[in-house]
C-alpha cells in the first residue's frame, strides 16, 4: 500500500537556525514528490517539487529538498529559518491516477 510518513508532528527552532523536516514514503515506484506549506488559516501553497533528474531541488522562500532513493526520503531543509516560516508543512507523494497522498504534517514553531 502507498503511504507517506512525516515522523515529526511538531518542531521548534530558533530564528536563524537551520531546519530539516523529514518525509519518508512507501510506493511501488518512485513517485513525484511535493512539499506544501500552510500558514495559519490559509490554504496550501506549493514549496517545491521533484519529478526526475537532479536530486536536490530548490523551492520558494529559500527552501530545498533532497530526494534519496535508497532511503525513500524527501527531506525539506532551510539553512536559516525566519519567523515568517512558522507554518505547517506537508509532504505529498503522487503515484499517479490524479491523486496525491498527503502526510499528516509537521508544525514548525520559530522562537526568537
Amino acid at each position: 500500500a502507498q503511504s507517506v510518513t512525516q515522523p515529526d508532528i511538531h518542531i521548534t527552532v530558533s530564528e536563524g537556525a537551520s531546519l530539516e523536516l523529514r518525509c519518508n514514503y512507501s510506493y511501488g515506484a518512485t513517485p513525484y514528490l511535493f512539499w506544501y506549506v500552510q500558514s495559519p488559516g490559509q490554504g496550501l501553497q506549493l514549496l517545491l517539487k521533484y519529478f526526475s533528474g537532479d536530486t536536490l531541488v530548490q523551492g520558494i522562500k529559500g527552501f530545498e529538498a533532497e530526494f534519496k532513493r535508497s532511503q525513500s526520503s524527501f527531506n525539506l531543509r532551510k539553512p536559516s529559518v525566519h519567523w515568517s516560516d512558522a507554518a505547517e508543512y506537508f509532504c505529498a507523494p503522487w503515484g499517479g491516477y490524479q491523486k496525491v497522498t498527503f502526510g499528516t504534517g509537521t508544525k514548525l514553531q520559530v522562537i526568537p
Binding site: 496550501l44 506549493l46 506537508f90 498527503f102
Partner: protein, 116 residues
C-alpha cells in the same frame, strides 16, 4: 486571476441540515478535488473530478456528494450533516498532466464547517 475560490468561508450547521460548498477556478484546469483537513490527519481526499461531467470517489466519500456540471466549478454537498463532518474543507485544482513536470495542485483558502 483569482485562482481557486471557495464559498462560503465559514458555516455552522445543525445535525441533519444540508448544504453545498462551491469551488470555482479560473485557470482552465481539468482536474478538481475536495479534501477535508482534520487535526493530526493531514488532508484526506473526499471526491475528485478529471473533467466536466465526471466525478470519482476518494478516500473518505461517505456522506458527501459532488457535481461538476461546468469545468470551472466543483460542488460538494452534504445531504444530512453529522458532527463527524465538522472539519476544514479545501478545494484544489490541477492541469491535465501532458508531460512530466506539469502536475501540481492549487488550493483554495478553505471552508471551516461546524456541525452541532
Amino acid at each position: 486571476n483569482a485562482g481557486v475560490t471557495q464559498t462560503p468561508k465559514f458555516r455552522v450547521l445543525k445535525t441533519g441540515q444540508s448544504m453545498t460548498l462551491l469551488c470555482a477556478q479560473d485557470m482552465n484546469h481539468e482536474y478538481m478535488y475536495w479534501y477535508r483537513q482534520d487535526p493530526g490527519m493531514g488532508l484526506r481526499l473526499i471526491h475528485y473530478s478529471v473533467g466536466e461531467g465526471t466525478t470519482a470517489k476518494g478516500e473518505v466519500p461517505d456522506g458527501y456528494n459532488v457535481s461538476r456540471l461546468k469545468k470551472q466549478n466543483f460542488l460538494l454537498g452534504l445531504e444530512s450533516a453529522a458532527p463527524s463532518q465538522t472539519s476544514v474543507y479545501f478545494c484544489a485544482s490541477s492541469k491535465l498532466q501532458v508531460e512530466r513536470g506539469t502536475y501540481e495542485q492549487y488550493f483554495g483558502p478553505g471552508t471551516r464547517l461546524t456541525v452541532t
